[in-house]
């Protein structure tokens, strides 16, 4: 992570958990993001132990309830208590697009910038041009 994304600081590390924070750019404007990831455990594991959890810290995500597509926020796992802090949905959980064997720097990092670029496009136009699908639907 340090080699490919030196702008991300490792803010916490334990034996089975790590989190990074720092600026990432989708189009031009940098957004400060947090990436958190834990090793899997048996049982009912929290989200960050099943896949990397990415949140945008600043500038905060801005819900758009009037957007023709993807209102109020596109491709996130909704945090109903704090919408702007909703984790981003970067890959299809029902396909083999990501596993714990993957390097975050080569998957989560660039996928986050992909999301940020599409989010800026969505903010500007109200349309999500990055494709994808929602649970239970077919890909667009």
């Amino acid at each position: 992570m340090r080699r490919l994304w030196p702008q991300l600081d490792l803010i916490k590390q334990t034996g089975d958990f790590a989190a990074w924070e720092g600026p990432l750019v989708g189009i031009e404007r940098a957004h400060t993001v947090q990436i958190a990831m834990g090793l899997p455990r048996d049982g009912d594991a929290p989200m960050f132990r099943r896949f990397p959890v990415v949140r945008v810290l600043s500038p905060a995500l801005v819900p758009n309830w009037d957007a023709p597509e993807e209102a109020p926020l596109p491709h996130v796992f909704f945090d109903y208590d704090d919408l702007p802090m909703s984790p981003l949905c970067l890959f299809d959980l029902e396909k083999d697009e990501w596993s714990h064997r993957d390097f975050l720097a080569r998957t989560t990092g660039p996928w986050t910038t992909d999301w940020l670029a599409c989010y800026e496009g969505w903010q500007a136009t109200g349309y999500w041009y990055g494709g994808g699908r929602h649970a239970g639907s077919t890909p667009t």
Partner: protein
Amino acid sequence: MSIHQALLGGTAPVGEILLADTAIRIELPPSKHKLAVDRYSAVRSHIERPDSPLFDRVAYFYPQGSMAIGATIQSRKRGDGYDIDIIAELLVSPTLSPAGVLDLLFEAINGPKGSRYHGMVERQTRCVTVYYEDGMHLDITPSSLIDALDPRRSHIFHAKPEEPAAQHRRLVVNCWAFCEWFNARTPADIDFAKAYGTRAMTFDAALLAKDASVKEVPAHSTEEGGKSTAVVALQLLKRNRNIRYAPRKDQRMPPSVMMANFAAQTAMPGTSISGALDVLSGAILAALEAAEGRGQLIDVENPKCKGERFTDRWPENRAAQRTYIEDLRIFRKQLAGLMSENYTLAQKRDLLVAMFGEGPADTVVKDYAARLGRSISTGARGTAPSGRVIPAAAATGVISSPALAQPRGHTFYGSKWPGS
């Protein structure tokens, strides 16, 4: 990589890409350029028809103004139309009054009832206008050569019908020499011409597909898109002026030819569009502020024709001068915002709307977002070290660069908002 190669590939600053795409949407596209050429040839033939009062009396017929320097944009009054300026150099008696010359040209073009242009023509103060249903119009200015040894130095005629004849007059001009001078000072930059021409042709092809009434594709249309950044900057600044003055009913606008004069004086090869806009708007602003500081009105003369004043009808007074000074100050702040990396695409969209109008700005931003999104959804994009996503066309060209990685594809996922 030059800024122009970057533009071709899409790795240029976003503001630069948005400016180029805006210019392409407001300018006269190659297909319409050909249509304009066909139309002025047809008008010339019509003026010279055997039963015309100007039969055998048109010495020379040539484009002037924006048409001659490749800077034509959609007109101020008709958002979907184009103003094409032409000079008709006539062989008329020196004793014929200015109103007489203009009336003669009007009569020649309007023709008898039932003829080709009858009812489509309007006599103006200095020209005769032919209006077309698609919004294009040709402004044909009659002129009379002053000296055969000084090519195209001419008189044009000023005769406002409601003014007394004593106020009618002849004006010395040399539009031809000015355009030659302008074109010599603003040669097309090869890199830029290629990058810009490719984008222009792509847009024109889409336009032609939509407009079935336009049948012909120009033979050398890619060359029509080839131009210098100074000309593109001029087109954008003229568009901004048109937008600013649209709600100011009955106020004269700063003349295009004055702006063109500054564009030619400040043109520098290898400059980006944003750079050329910064220099051009700065030069005009500095000249206006200097005049204002002296308590005078700006005075710009044709560098190729002594006595031809480009600012003879604007600014009418200091208030008019100050209005455009303020416009340019605002424009330069907006331009800085557009080129800033601290603004989001939505903020840049808002700036583009304010600078160049809602129509082109919305389309340009939507197209940019769609191109970017397609590159991501198809996995055909590159990622710069900062994370910046580079669309497919660019990524294929520079993917071997160690600065760009091509991450593997993925599918955005997530839940839908309940009830949506």
